[in-house]
């Protein structure tokens, strides 16, 4: 309680949240299991959203919460299909050059801290320049309580239009490159590349059947068959095995 007279108590909460963020970030770097990393990224976005709330950036926190908690985890998991689950540790001799680059960049960042304004400084550029102008003009011209929406949609409408076009082109790229049916029955690509197969009519139930046996069958073979054929074969094999037993 005595400490709270010296510093504002919410700043102590900020520091605690930032400490959790640093712990999570280091463990994301050190962790080897991709599942754990995906979950830790969810935790990271949770804690950083709480931190943004304490910095009064509620809209940013909302974006972080909406994207980081649900959608980002799902998409990362979907992307894990194309990656190896565990990576081999890199030898130390290969780590020296990246370490140097990171150290120099980090020192430059720390050098730049001296020019930053203090926390909550009235004379900082964010509090004196065009930001205050927007806050004053929003109450007069637009009559909307949330200044962020006014700035995004009205004062900075061109920028948001650009963002909408960026999202549109991202979706266009996904549609052109991947399509909406995935690789169901058409062709398969490997992370190592060079294995693309001729198109075969997609089968409707290929997505419904478990794929573990598919993996086992295709492990040794250099050229894979399309997955639908593979799956059917594996199912038959399994039934045969059961009959024999």
């Amino acid at each position: 309680m005595l400490l709270s007279y010296v510093v504002s108590p919410t700043i102590i909460l900020d520091v605690a949240l930032m400490a959790i963020l640093i712990i999570v970030a280091f463990s994301i770097v050190r962790m080897r299991s991709l599942f754990a990393i995906v979950m830790l990224q969810g935790v990271y976005s949770l804690v950083s959203a709480a931190w943004f709330v304490s910095l009064d950036a509620v809209d940013v926190a909302f974006t972080e919460a909406a994207v980081g908690a649900g959608v980002s985890t799902v998409l990362m998991l979907a992307a894990m299909l194309l990656a190896n689950r565990k990576s081999d540790p890199v030898p130390i001799s290969k780590q020296i050059a990246p370490l140097l680059v990171v150290l120099i960049a980090g020192l430059a960042m720390f050098y730049a801290i001296g020019d930053m304004p203090a926390y909550g400084d009235v004379n900082s550029p964010a509090n004196t320049g065009v930001g205050m102008d927007y806050i004053e003009r929003t109450t007069k011209e637009i009559h909307i309580p949330n200044v962020v929406t006014a700035v995004l949609a009205s004062y900075r409408g061109y920028d948001t239009f650009g963002e909408a076009v960026v999202i549109f082109s991202a979706g266009l790229g996904v549609l052109l490159l991947l399509g909406l049916n995935g690789n169901a029955g058409r062709w398969t690509a490997r992370p190592t590349g060079r294995q693309i197969y001729p198109p075969i009519a997609p089968s409707a139930n290929s997505r419904l059947i478990a794929s573990r046996d598919n993996i086992k069958l295709s492990k040794g073979s250099i050229i894979e068959k399309p997955s639908s054929v593979n799956l059917r074969k594996s199912k038959n094999n399994r039934l045969k095995d059961k009959g024999n037993n």
Partner: protein, 146 residues
Amino acid sequence: MHDPHVILKVISKFLVPFIALFAFYVQFHGDFGPGGGFQAGVILAAAVILYALIFGLDAAKKAFPPSWIRIGMSLGVLLYGGTGVLTWILGGDFLSYGVLAHDPTHGQHYGIIAVELGVLCSVTTVMIAIFYAFGSRQPEVNEDNW
């Protein structure tokens, strides 16, 4: 018939409309509280993703057909750009919403609502498109890697 997932199914069937409702709350309450088109779009996409996770991708494709994705993506950008062109036609600059109504502040309101609706359309459909594209892929890695 014993269904081991009956609890999950009932709860998520109950939860999906609430998530969609919350998305529309965020969309239309964005002028007063936190939120806006982008966040609402992501939440609305999350509702479809939850449905797809529980009931399968085919059921989700029946509920939200892939043809809507192509339409919605372009419709969102068209709505945004169309608002700008409309202000052009009405005699203002590109995306200056003041000319949309007699009172400039009302015009600003209408413009912001139209623009946010465009962003909502585009973001929702793109997120669902990404999920459909990745979610329908089958695994191609060795069992040892798991």
